[in-house]
Symmetry: none
Subunit: 135 residues, 2 copies
Amino acid sequence: MKGEYKTKPRNAIIEYLKENADTRFTARDILNAVDVEGVELDRSTVYRNLERLCKEGCLVKYKETGVNATCYQYSEGHGSCHDHMHAQCSVCGKIFHLDNSILEDASAKIKKEYGIEIDYGKTVLMCICQECKKK
Amino acid sequence: MKGEYKTKPRNAIIEYLKENADTRFTARDILNAVDVEGVELDRSTVYRNLERLCKEGCLVKYKETGVNATCYQYSEGHGSCHDHMHAQCSVCGKIFHLDNSILEDASAKIKKEYGIEIDYGKTVLMCICQECKKK
DNA sequence: TTGCGTGCAAAGGTTTTGCATGGCA
DNA sequence: TGCCATGCAAAACCTTTGCACGCAA
């Protein structure tokens, strides 16, 4: 069988994933956060493990507008990222977590009119926040 | 006023956009396809023009899983882009043009609850379309 | 011992940036 | 003429790949 070895780098990465189960992260986030006995992991190790975890189905991989790197999200237990969506201020970059229900009505209208279904998890509403509006 | 100059490279790029109004393309596609009097455009010229067109609202910019470059789509024929917003199928990539009014109520609710204002022009609602849903 | 996973180095790709030049208005 | 856009070069990123070595099984 392939992919059976349990190594320290791999374990450290998986630990990071579990600690950040409801967050999206990039390869860089792992490189910055994870180390084995004080030593930073190698880039290729991180990429290869992420790729392997994707194939094993533990990880969702996707691109996001505004993020210049591939995003990943741990999907064990269907993380708690499914009950809310994100809005981001296009000026300061701050992220807001909105309840999915706020788009319920609009979503129904859109489905009726255009035949498409909003994917809350993948949508980021771009906005301007109060602080930035004042300026 | 800024961005007023009409130059040959810029015109050539805009011409390409019009010819490919219903297609997604990357900066590389333009570099490969567009030239001015037989001379290939410079990368930075292409990137700077695409960025400018995005800010002017003529172009939608987004990332797509599996494509290792930023994707763009021209949105002429749908007005100045200020009266509608975009939704994109996360499976096939097709772009839908939605009337801003469809999010009016939700937008008001969001403003009330979170103090933020949706920027329709910058938002791309990720969705799944009818065709892809059937599969 | 076997062979997979890691670290290292290098390469390939996209995108950004500084600077001098050329061209539009 | 004034100033923006371009082209060039270089750099900053992200990501992938080849190879030798070390370590899990």
